[in-house]
Amino acid sequence: MVSLWPSIEPLLDGVAKPARYIGGEQGATVPVHGGGQVAWLLIYPDTYEIGLPNQGLQILYELLNERPDALAERTYAPWIDMESAMRAAGVPLFSVENHLAAGDFDVMAFNLSAELVYTNVLNLIDLAGVPVRGAGRTSAHPVVLAGGHCTFNPEPLADFVDAFVLGDGEEVVGEINDVLAGWLATEPELRDRAALLEGLASVEGVYVPSLYRVDFEGQVLTGITPRTPAAPPQVVKRTISDLAEWPYPKNQLVPLTEVVHDRLNVEVFRGCTRGCRFCQAGMITRPVRERPAAQVRSMIRAGLERTGYDEVALTSLSTADFSSIEDTVRAVVGGECGDQQVSVSLPSLRVDAFTVATATQIAHARRTGLTFAPEGGTWRMRRVINKLITEEDLYSAVDAAFSNGWRRVKLYFLIGLPTERDEDVLGIAELARRCVEIGRRHHRGPTVVASVGGFVPKPHTPFQWFGQDTAAELRRKVNLLKDACRPVRGLSLRWHDPEATAVEGLASRGDRRMGAVIERVWRAGGTFQEWSECFDLSKWEAALEAEGLSLESVTYRDREPDEVLAWDHLSAGLHRDFLWSDWQDALAAVAVEDCRWTPCYDCGACTDAGIEHVVASNVPPAGGSQGTGQDLATGDRVPVRFVTAAGAR
């Protein structure tokens, strides 16, 4: 194995942001190869700035490098200028630590956090000099793996990735390494790739798509079934039961150049049971597992001291729900976690005044903007999606924010939700307008930004049967909002490109036939599709047509109740009948409460896996909105479903 650095170095003078390619981050491990370890190349298929902070990748990087029988390096998608310089100079994809060719590694393991990066995955495999389709690889090639939230419907990438991992990676990564180490211990000429794939399929939580048959009748998917007894009929996600056993990353990478989320990140809990029906992350990461408060504090203290950061983010899907949030914030702000001034950021704020009070405690100086996500424009809409924020919750939160010195409030909304009517869309403008009014009571020129995204139905959610709004319909709704927001001074509207939303829908719920479409788009030069300057709908339309598919058939139509879904053979722990009844509740605008503090709905996530919520407090947080500590009947007649004793734990 030879470092490619001498060939890479001359390319760096001619490309933008060359620091993306040099490695050298504090906390990085530069492993020594050749000791018989399984060599992993961990790949984030987007730019360095987006990929470096990814905590999942960093956790696996540390766990692998701690093992005596494994080593891990990292790489990211080179930007277009660098890729063309590399191809012109014959330089393959390389790792950032030792600058070794990707093809020198035993494993290329991708993090899949977003669907629009799929064409980049193909491009990176190709840039590594590895056949893009799994069927074309031999035992001399690296094994291509993928993990991350998108693997809960991996079918669009099934032709290109040898094995997918579902769920938490902490435990399963070691089991996969054992299988690979055993296989690599045999003589190279005796290595049988088919045997390796069967070995991987025997690991719980690992899905090897080539071992499954996909049947269609005409255009209708009729089943995905194992070809061999080595592959289980259903692959169930992995779940770690106790976050306290995994205090990672211990050595968070400190990049040399600017990246997103450039701060210390400490995960305070995993999973969320607020039950927002549009939210795939909240569905597939159940149950809630909190990290002990004392461990959170010690991770913050050690992390700040080691990195020199002056900001820490407490990460989770809804950090204000962390049982020890107040104590933790007080400890950091009060200097218990180091003697320098530190600011705390809380991504994913809940919408209520209590949350703002916490935010006020932490933001000494940088009181520039605060973000809330009511998601729906009317109370009816928010019951449909089970985002149980009353108007009073929102207005009191916004009032608290403006009265505590914030001048800019950002509101996140979705459009294209199930049962949505124009009045729900216009409700977004009305809510935002009233937030500006509240702001005027406190400041002369308050700003409210309403940021509107098009809804993409995701697998393993109650909305998986819903026909996504067409790009044209989303555009019409955006135009309604533009007209409604224009006269309001201080209100600005931002929206996501409806065409990109449509393509995200293709990748989100597409079946195995999408592979050929993705390959065509990649071959037509369609990389970095999540970047607006690179996104090109016409490439997708041409590819769909060539494959006899359409946006209509893949994502715009409603799914039939008994239809086989492309991810039915994969389980996030959730029972299909739970999702179906939650879907029916949604259509009837029936809200459900958070099961952390109320009886179990038997969704399946805990019971089938033999695990439970790990929550320090057995009562909902003070002042908590969203279906706890509030009378859901106020403001409107809200039916709340009560669960029978049989469903309770």
Partner: protein, 261 residues
């Protein structure tokens, strides 16, 4: 009056591909880890009072980068106690500790206390010395091009600023330019190359190494550039803001001393 610590550091190897702003962030983190009592700006969003000298173009190496750190005045205690208390007994220890907190390729070469009223690095520095490795032409041809450039009364380059074209004359900023023999084994690549030593003024207009190489001809390629010194001219004399052997000197750089007295 607050104390000011002047630090000279190098930036060599892979890390030269980071930007000036990246280096500023590295220093902010390193200073926090060092526990030095860095003074902070007043106002809404207090920032540590750290001032860097001339920006080094991304991709260039340097043996002579500088920053000035304003230290918070000691709250009380005898005046001979340095502002960092007993965490670092002397400047040598402090310099070594700072290097430890900085990434590979960035090392503290020298540091000294300077009078807090010393003028800023950015204003003071009048020229920089560079070593440049260039490819593309033979040594003899390179000699000829250098002579041509030095003999020319003006060297005009067209530059666009804010949508308008300007013709700049680079010649007055090229103080000196000559070939030199590099020490063994210091070439960037295997191909034949020439080595230039240049002193480029910062005023009236700063010249970047890449601009200088461009005026030597389109066939000349800059392979590597390394800033070796920054110079301050004062009353006909030439100083470095801090020379490389100033490690651990508790009182200021010669020019600063001169000004203070």
């Amino acid at each position: 009056m607050a104390d000011r610590l002047r630090v000279r550091f190098g930036k060599v190897g892979k890390i030269r591909f980071t930007s000036h702003r990246d280096v500023a962030r590295m220093w902010e983190r390193a200073l926090r880890r060092s526990g030095l009592p860095v003074a902070r700006s007043q106002g809404f969003n207090p920032r540590p009072l750290v001032a860097f000298g001339l920006a080094l173009p991304t991709g260039c190496e340097s043996l002579a980068e500088y920053l000035d750190v304003t230290l918070a005045a000691p709250v009380d205690g005898p005046s001979e106690v340095p502002p960092w208390g007993d965490s670092y007994p002397d400047l040598v220890t402090l310099g070594l500790a700072l290097s430890e907190f900085l990434p590979e390729g960035i090392d503290v070469g020298a540091l000294a206390m300077v009078p807090s009223d010393a003028s800023s690095l950015q204003q003071e520095v009048t020229s920089c010395s560079w070593e440049l490795e260039v490819l593309g032409v033979t040594a003899a041809e390179l000699v000829r091009r250098v002579e041509l450039l030095l003999d020319a009364p003006t060297v005009s380059v067209r530059r666009e600023r804010k949508g308008r074209h300007f013709d700049d004359d680079l010649r007055p900023s090229v103080r000196s330019l000559a070939l030199f023999e590099p020490p063994e084994g210091s070439t960037a690549s295997g191909s034949p190359s020439g080595f230039l030593r240049a002193e480029l003024a910062t005023r009236p207009r700063g010249v970047r190494p890449r601009e200088l190489v461009e005026v030597l001809g389109t066939d000349v390629v800059l392979a590597r550039a390394r800033r070796t010194q920054q110079w301050i001219e004062c009353d006909g004399a030439r100083f470095e803001p801090l020379s490389a052997d100033d490690l651990g000197r508790a009182v200021g750089a010669p020019h600063a001393m001169g000004r203070a007295s």
